[in-house]
């Protein structure tokens, strides 16, 4: 018997599209020893999730393993019968999905779902397994471990649910757990808790794990070894420390370099300049609940103001107030010193033209049934009155600005573009109105790091060329560092702190800003360990936020 727990050799995986089988993974080796954590990283579409699932001998619908071998503890998973696999999956191999909210059954209590696998596999009785569940909840530092199991999935927060799912995966004390982007959907402060809990419990039970993520800083904290995938091929594999300090391949180096982008600082704005957008003391409510409270900030010509905060902090609501979708209850919004009507329906065409928006999800922001030419052409026609050849010429100019060749893309549908290209079309549509001010709502958070960097550089270039002002909503502080001139930190609908970027990244901070800044994972593999030492094991994430308020 080999000394590997998982041994995948020359694995080839194909996916079905339009009646033919297209390769997804082209012959990758993957080995994992007992108790070892392997990080799998790569862009979306690199095949990391597919490879992770293949380690369980499992394929999604329309996908098949066409070659190679997958051995788990001496058992050939590809030759194993359905019955043999049933004995392994859930019991010796477990899986933690990206979205815990979508993976729990909303109609059953957490503890009932927790006990299902152990009872099914005959490892423990229901009561025994439930007691063990409470013990695991305690180990994972879930609040109120004795009772949280009796709640339904919608009654606990996202971070807690993700930890409950990790507990569930641990219920049978498996030899191998596959974590598929378990913290991608979480805020930085919540992510930290989940990371700390996962790492602790994996160490304690000496479980081997495959940790799939696109976030390099996260994988640096979690993995003993890192494997980099690109379009179904292995780029390189090495110890975490070696990989971080001396990557050998160009692609890996480019991944590592992304976080280095930072635009030069601009001179301060003259004190008597009229801001392009001035938000003055707005309070807004959904129904009767105030979600924004007395928010004020200015955005000057040619500047970028980054608005940061966790989900639910009111960043996007502020944007909705500025665009007029949610008229604030109190306060005013000025454009070039002139007050804007609060409801967008009352604004003039000219006022609407000046404020444009770029959305987080390019998929839902572009009408899937319209060609690129129609999408970009509509504002050109609507605001500028251009038609026919003049319109087509202007669309081509705009596509030139976003670095997409017009003759090649103008007649395509959004579904025929990649994520980064779609986001560029969103930018072109905003530019087509020739606005002064653009709201960028998490425009890079759905993109891979390399692609996101391209978008940020494009936005920076356009700002320099056209003198645009941006309001940049983000939860990613690396993005803030890259593009912002000024920063506004929000929490629970209130501006906690604001100032120039230089001041914000230098202490002393408001305590919440400090927490936010220090929660962003860094590439240093000792970062999490040091942070936990500094803050104390029970004083991270939500707990810390709670203590502050």
């Amino acid at each position: 018997m080999s000394d590997f727990l998982v041994e995948m050799r020359d694995v080839r995986i194909e996916g079905r599209s339009d009646e033919t089988w297209m390769p997804i993974i082209n012959g990758v080796d993957l080995t994992l020893k007992k108790g070892e954590v392997l990080g799998l990283i790569g862009e979306s579409g690199a095949g990391k999730s597919t490879l992770g699932l293949a380690a369980m001998g499992f394929c999604r619908d329309g996908v098949r393993i066409s070659g190679g071998s997958v051995m788990f503890d001496g058992i050939d998973l590809l030759a194993a019968s359905a019955e043999q696999k049933r004995q392994l999956l859930g019991k010796r191999i477990a899986y933690v999905a990206q979205s815990a909210a979508a993976s729990f059954n909303p109609a059953h209590k957490l503890i009932d779902q927790h006990t299902e696998a152990p009872v099914q596999h005959g490892i423990a009785g229901k009561a025994e397994s439930a007691a063990d569940g409470v013990e695991l909840y305690r180990k994972l530092r879930l609040p109120n471990p004795d009772e949280i199991g009796f709640r339904y999935p919608h009654q606990v927060s996202g971070g807690q649910l993700q930890r409950a799912m990790t507990a569930m995966a641990m219920a049978c004390r498996p030899d191998l757990i596959i974590f598929d982007e378990p913290t991608t959907a979480l805020d930085v402060t919540t992510q930290i808790e989940v990371l700390a809990s996962i790492r602790q419990i994996v160490e304690e039970f000496d479980t081997a794990a495959i940790y799939i993520t696109h976030d390099l800083a996260v994988v640096a904290q979690m993995a003993d070894r890192i494997k980099v995938l690109l379009k179904g091929d292995e780029v390189e594999e090495a110890d975490t420390r070696t990989m971080l300090s001396e990557p050998t391949q160009e692609y890996t180096k480019s991944l590592w370099a992304v976080r280095a982008f930072e635009r030069p600082e601009k001179p301060p704005v003259a004190s008597d300049a009229t801001p392009v957008i001035s938000v003055q003391g707005i309070t807004a409510a959904y129904g009767t609940v105030d979600v924004l409270n007395d928010v004020s900030f200015d955005i000057h010509a040619g500047r970028t103001v980054a608005v940061v905060g966790e989900s639910g902090s009111g960043k996007s609501t502020t944007a909705r107030c500025i665009t007029g979708l949610l008229p604030p209850r109190i306060g005013t919004i000025e454009l070039d010193g002139e007050p804007l009507p609060l409801d967008y329906r009352k604004r003039s065409k000219e006022q609407l033209r000046q404020v444009q928006m770029i959305y987080q999800m390019a998929d839902t922001a572009l009408n899937p049934r319209k060609s690129i030419g129609e999408i970009i052409g509509r504002p050109v026609e609507f605001y500028m009155g251009l038609r026919g050849g003049a319109k087509r010429k202007r669309v081509a100019e705009l596509m030139d600005q976003i670095e997409l060749p017009a003759d090649q893309y103008i007649d395509r549908l959004p579904s025929e573009l990649s994520g980064g290209q779609k986001q560029r079309i969103g930018i072109a549509r905003a530019l087509a109105a020739e606005p002064k001010f653009i709201i960028c709502d998490e425009v890079t958070s759905a993109l891979d790091q390399l692609v996101a960097e391209g978008i940020l550089k494009l936005l920076a270039r356009l700002q320099d060329e056209l003198g645009l002002s941006y309001m940049f909503i983000t939860h990613d502080l690396a993005t803030v560092r890259a593009i912002a001139d000024e920063v506004v930190v929000m929490k629970d609908g209130v501006v906690v702190e604001q100032g120039s970027k230089r001041d914000m990244f230098k202490p002393p901070h408001h305590a919440y800003t400090d927490l936010l800044l220090s929660s962003v994972p860094e590439m240093d593999p000792d970062w999490l360990t040091n942070l936990l030492k500094e803050r104390g094991v029970d004083n991270i994430g939500d707990a810390a936020v709670g203590k502050m308020s």
């Binding site: 359905a82 665009t323 979708l325 604004r347 609407l352 922001a365 009408n367 049934r369 109105a433």
Partner: protein, 398 residues
Amino acid sequence: MSSVPWILGAIVVLLAGGWIMRLAGQKLTGNKPFFRDMPLAVAFGYVLGAALVLFGIWFYFQPAVTQDGVPVASVQFFRWAVQGVLIGAAAAYLFRLVGRVVGTAGSRKVFRQMPLTAAFGVLVILIYAFLAIFAPALAPHGQEQVFGQANIVPGGNPALGGNPDFPLGTDQIGRDILSRLIYGAQNTVGIAFATTVLAFVLGGTFGFLAATLRGWMDQALSRLVDVLMAIPSLIFSLLLITVASAWVSGFGLTVAMVVIIAVIDSTRVFRLARAVGMNIVVMDYIEAAKLRGEGLPYLIFREILPNATAPLLAEFGLRFCFVFLTISALSFLGLGIQPPLADWGTMVKDLSAFINYASFAPLAASVPLLAAGAIALLTVAVNFVVDWMLNRSSGLKD
């Protein structure tokens, strides 16, 4: 005699057959995953399916006439059904083959990707459209023309009581059934199509309007639709047509019927359009269009409608069939398309008594089935085509 022991016995035999089949498959194929992981229930299904196919083949070749010369109706109808399916499949196959060779590059590509069911549906719809448009030229006789000889059986074989002048026979007052079927395509299908289109224009527009505007407009329209839907639709349309007949008659009554059925059916379209519209209205591209300052017509017809075509198209296929059946039902009750205009629903009603002859004269009994078959065939064809279109458009989305 109780049939329960027989059924139980058959199940046991089939289960045993399935178990043996699986075991044999495992041994013969060297334990391929297909047989290895096959649950017993699936094996049972395979054996049951095979048994049914064998029974069908055996039944097809039973004699259609007993030794005394009495026809066996069940065998005869079964043969006709099998022949109909085979001929239909062959025609569809040929049609698709022709389409793949003839025509522009674009149309050839469409035919290459077309499943056989869709080819069948398109072919049937084309034939119906052709018949409806050229009915006066194609029909051998007039739809109102009465001939001396009534109740001629179909087939045109004088030995069996047919007449070559009337290949599908004549009805009980001596009108040519083939001619009436062809004119029926014009009347029934034309009116059903007009009604469905009107229902979609009404229901779609108001549904999207309610989804976009929300608020009191949505409330008012939705509650109105609830009220209309609360009344059983067939009885409601009967009532309204009766009321309408007090004022108008003849062609006017047909127009009234179209409007009444369209309004009643548009309630279902409204519900669908509103539900689909609500899912589209929350998309960011609608928000972007609103913030651009676009007006309501642009939002509804240029942004929402193109994204709602797939579900609306599916509903159109179904709705067309329902409207069609409603008109036939109304005609059957004597309120729809008025005689002497030929209508398939009326034809089924008028000739329905012949079905009683099925046990001893299959040919005579098939007379009411001709019109019923015409309705069924179109319904199936429309649904095949809609299924195919849905597949294509959903493939576009992914």
